[in-house]
């Protein structure tokens, strides 16, 4: 190998990050006390003092929840190291995991509750006590709910993924009683979860430790790190056990590990998968026994694929991938099956046909037999935890969600774009007047930022819970600062899969500022709101009035209030530690609890099974104890072993639309009959717009050192890459006279941004790309402020009509040097 050891800090330019104490450079709109400014960005060398302790915890720099051990010296965390005991994270912490200390120590953090004093969005706040903040929220909510006659759904709310997400959602959904919830799913993975679940019965876990042939389309596991997938995959690429085919319009870090990289026309994945399927069917390469025993309507599907003539030649014209390449991939895939996987992917909010793409992928994988088998897609096992029930009142006047008819199936987590647009375009059947956000930054995360701003401007109350002064925080009326993940205990979590375990995020250090974990906020807010909101329900809720009347003889109102769950703080009264203790000991006993607290991880027989195999590798379960094949008889599996999706919601979905729940579903006739969604994956010409000549399709994506907009102010991570750049084909750039670092305007129908150019051959001539998460407007983010560009300023607010999932790669842009 020719090794070029280049110290050129690729993509980082020569501009070194200036790391100094927070100066007056950013206008301090939030009234800051002088002592706040003492804190500074920077790293601290380990001192290994005598007072050193090691505390196991779980990372929250992204969604993976890798196990870490914090080294604490004199109450200060000096290093985060990987905890080798966790099967999911396989003894590693990525760059972001290491940078958790910088997030904790970030001098820009939200430090105490705030109430807006200037105009909304102006960013002027005053420091208040927690009680003042709750009082403000109460007064607004009482007024709004009184005026809306106890229609609880007038309170909208959103959440980003996190271990405390459920605590917040249960409060808003079950206690406050609003149906208007939106979360990250429809700007992330709704279509792939729905596609795999409705086809295979579950999303499953790709067994990349044992697969021999993997197709990753769009999924970029070298940069969008998912554990254990990333670690399992890239130890076995480059001729070391697993063949990897990467389908991506960009040459990513994942592509650099591929045996074959096939750049595809953006938005044409469905044609590619259908053509693979055509090859497997017409050449009879699929697993006949498996398809016969485990798949329903396979004969109809075969006929459908052949009748539609989805040949490689047909697909070549659409996808730009040569017919012979498609044939080769299909043959190779089936030759390695059942250890062949068409990788499910995660952020699949790309195009209008995303749901059918995922259906076709799942069916194609199943045709090779790689389902519930070693080296295929596994369902594994999950270690059950005890229950923590929260009694919830039913509100007679609470209306269904506003955007329920804007897509074929709108689940309980909604459709972000459709929901927001329904509020601002005046088509909502009733007004949504308040908005709560937890750990989500819709100003940066939802396509079309200016519409999100309009939505927030329409609200009578905006409450934001976060750790950092994000752009969404800047739009708030009330800001409730959450304690950092290293400062709090979160709900204990069970992680399913072939090597299941239970992991705990334990508090490592005391809260530095006047911040609280969500459970405490919900308890205190619940105490503040319970009686006043009950009074409103009494006034308008006829069912409640009847209940009280019926209970007249036995305690009346007080009894109903208690029994029906109107005490809003109920369910949040115990500390998280107490609740966790109950959830673990009720199933596994005190010894398990002790292990979990000491080691951070627990699973039955861990002491027997866990072994160090080499300086880098560990055994979690002996091979014969791994849960590769779990289905006995009929295929009916746990919906999903992940934190990103509501299993209840998926359960409902399956129940309603999976016609033959015991088999892999090639045709979803119920979905077609009830909702008009194609029963079998079908290429829809009308849903695809080719990129016009001379213009560009804009695509967005993730990065190994940043998590959406959440890490944009992290000093250590910005030291690795200081802003995002526009990928543009080198020859196209040359024609346009664009050089590296030139300022480029990228303009779509909804807006324009400016960003520096990165001309490269790693992208095709009709596509431009930059990573998501940069371009913050918030002047309170000293390092992130106006750094790079915000993709959602230009991504048009299209969404696909099956599940209301964002179609982020349907935007055509023009570029020019400025």
């Amino acid at each position: 190998m020719k090794t070029e050891i280049s110290r050129r800090r690729f993509l980082q330019g020569s501009a070194a990050l200036t790391v100094v104490a927070v100066s007056g450079a950013a206008t301090a709109l939030i009234e800051k006390e002088e002592h706040d400014k003492v804190a500074s960005f920077g790293l601290r060398k380990t001192q290994w003092s005598d007072k050193l302790t090691e505390v196991p915890t779980l990372c929250e720099m992204c969604v993976n929840k890798c196990a870490a051990i914090a080294r604490v010296e004199d109450g200060v965390i000096t290093k985060l190291n990987p905890n080798p005991l966790f099967p999911k994270s396989r003894n590693m912490l990525c760059a972001r995991g290491n940078a958790g200390i910088q997030a904790l120590e970030d001098p820009d953090r939200l430090k105490y509750p705030l109430i807006r004093v200037g105009k909304r969005g102006e960013g002027k706040f005053k420091r208040v006590t927690w009680d003042e903040a709750y009082e403000h929220i109460k007064n607004k909510m009482v007024k709004i709910l009184d005026e809306e006659k106890d229609n609880r759904s007038t309170i909208g709310y959103c959440a980003g993924e996190g271990m405390a997400e459920h605590t917040y959602v249960s409060f808003m959904q079950d206690k406050i009683g609003s149906s208007n919830f939106v979360n990250h799913a429809t700007i992330c993975l709704t279509t792939t979860i729905a596609g795999y679940t409705l086809t295979l019965g579950g999303y499953g876990q790709a067994d990349l430790e044992n697969a021999e042939y993997v197709i990753m389309a769009g999924a970029n596991r070298a940069e969008a790190i998912v554990t254990p997938d990333t670690m399992d995959m890239f130890k076995r690429t480059k001729g070391r056990g697993a063949k990897l085919v990467v389908i991506d319009p960009r040459f990513t870090n994942t592509a650099s590990h591929a045996d074959k990289w096939l750049p595809i026309e953006v938005g044409t994945d469905l044609a590619f998968v259908l053509a693979l399927t055509h090859v497997a069917i017409s050449e009879g390469l699929y697993n006949k026994k498996f398809t016969q025993e485990n798949m329903s309507d396979f004969e109809a599907y075969k006929k459908h694929i052949l009748d539609k003539n989805y040949t490689p030649e047909w697909a070549e014209k659409i996808t730009g991938i040569k017919a012979n390449e498609i044939r080769e991939v299909a043959r190779d895939f089936m030759a390695h099956a059942p250890r062949s996987i068409y990788y499910q992917g995660r952020r699949t909010a790309w195009s209008f046909q995303d749901f059918q793409v995922r259906r076709a992928q799942a069916i194609f994988t199943a045709m090779g037999g790689g389902v519930d088998k070693k080296g295929g897609i596994l369902f594994g096992k999950k270690l059950e935890l005890g229950k923590h029930e929260i009694p919830s009142p039913s509100y007679f006047n609470a209306e269904p969600r506003i955007e329920k008819d804007k897509a074929a199936v709108v689940g309980t987590s909604g459709s972000w774009i459709a929901w927001r647009n329904t509020i601002i375009d005046g088509t909502a059947p009733y007004p949504v007047r308040a908005f709560f956000a937890y750990k989500q930054n819709p100003m940066l995360s939802v396509p079309n930022t200016s519409k999100t701003r309009q939505m927030l401007e329409k609200m009578d109350l905006v409450v934001v819970i976060d750790t950092m002064p994000s752009d969404t925080v800047m739009m708030a009326d009330v800001v409730l600062p959450e304690s950092h993940y290293l400062e709090r205990e979160d709900p204990v979590k069970t992680f399913g899969g072939s090597e299941p375990s239970i992991a705990l995020r334990k508090k490592v250090v005391d809260a530095k500022y006047d911040t609280k974990p969500v459970i405490e906020m919900m308890r205190e807010l619940g105490e503040k709101l319970a009686k006043p909101l009950f009074e409103i329900s009494k006034k308008y809720d006829e069912e409640l009035q009847e209940l009280i009347e019926d209970a007249q003889d036995e305690g009346g109102e007080e009894k109903v209030y208690k029994q029906e769950g109107y005490d809003l703080a109920e369910g949040y009264k115990h500390s998280q530690e107490t609740i966790n203790h109950h959830m673990v000991t009720s199933v596994y006993g005190e010894e398990a609890w002790k292990t979990l607290r000491e080691k951070g991880i627990f699973y039955p027989d861990m002491d027997k099974y866990f072994k160090k195999k080499s300086v880098n590798t560990y055994q979690y379960y002996p091979e014969h104890k791994k849960s590769y094949s779990v289905i006995k008889g009929e295929l009916d599996v746990e919906p999903y072993h992940d934190t990103c999706v509501d299993t209840k919601e998926i359960g409902v979905l399956k129940k309603e639309f999976r016609t033959a729940t015991s088999k892999i579903a090639c045709a979803l006739y119920n979905l077609e009959k009830k909702k008009g969604v194609d029963a079998m994956p079908t290429w829809r010409e009308e849903l695809y717009t080719p990129t016009p000549q001379g213009r560009f399709r804009f695509i967005t994506g993730r990065h190994g050192q940043f998590t959406q907009s959440g890490t944009s102010n992290n000093a250590l991570l910005l030291d690795l890459m200081d802003e995002n750049y526009l990928w543009i084909n080198k020859r196209v750039a040359q024609e346009k006279g664009i050089n590296f670092g030139d300022n480029i305007e990228v303009k779509s129908s909804i807006g324009a941004i400016q960003i520096k150019a990165y001309p490269t051959e790693k992208i095709g001539p009709n596509v431009v790309f930059f990573i998501h998460g940069f371009g913050a407007e918030s002047s309170e983010l000293t390092l992130a402020h106006h750094k790079g560009a915000n993709d959602n300023m230009i991504i048009e607010d299209h969404y696909e009509k099956s599940f209301g999932s964002a179609a982020m790669h349907e935007t055509i842009v023009d570029i020019r040097r400025v």
Partner: protein, 187 residues
């Protein structure tokens, strides 16, 4: 007493920079684009879209090569650069006069100036942060997602690094200069 070295299974590298971050956190490295002890080399992509050479895109994790015959040590006029008992090339900040001869002499471009300590610093295999406290790995090895690095004692025939170097093909960088590096790239 040991003779520490590191083997790198570089084919597993995904350029995620976990190693670089862990190094910085562990050793309190000054932030700033060129202030670092370890890095991942990214070669220029060969080919023209869509015909790119995948082989040309391998990542090259690198750092001080911990030479047995280190040019930086040889040229140091004050003996600030020295070999410790474990064969690790170290720097004594007290003695460094910032003459930067070592920066010129190092064929691997592995030395940088730390403006706080006024030292031409370098990787020391976490000697003063981890090894001295009984840890057996470096921060970069411990944190690596795909486990590129194997750190250990080359003088111990039973160490994993010794075994791996016996069993697997490997090469070192710029060996023709006679530097005798103790970093080994596994093929």
């Amino acid at each position: 007493m040991a003779r520490y070295g590191m083997a790198l299974d570089y084919k597993s590298c995904i350029n995620c920079k976990a190693c670089e971050s862990a190094c910085k956190e562990e050793n309190g490295i000054l932030l700033g684009a060129d202030k670092h002890r370890i890095w991942v080399g990214v070669p220029e992509m060969e080919g023209i879209f869509p015909n790119l050479s995948i082989g040309s895109s391998s990542y090259a994790p690198s750092q001080c090569q911990q030479c047995d015959n280190a040019p930086c040590q040889e040229v140091c006029p004050t003996n600030a650069t020295y070999y410790d008992d474990n064969g690790v090339v170290r720097v004594n900040p007290e003695q460094c006069i910032l003459c930067t001869y070592c920066m010129q002499a190092c064929p691997y471009d592995a030395r940088y100036i730390d403006d706080r300590t006024m030292t031409v610093d370098k990787c020391n295999f976490c000697s003063d942060t981890r090894l001295i406290n009984g840890e057996t790995t470096t921060a970069c090895q411990a944190t690596c997602p795909t486990k590129v690095r194997i750190f250990g004692d080359l003088d111990d025939p039973n160490s994993e690094i010794s075994q791996v170097l016996r069993d697997r093909e490997h090469y070192s960088l710029k060996t023709h200069l006679g530097t005798k590096p103790k970093l080994y790239y596994l093929t």
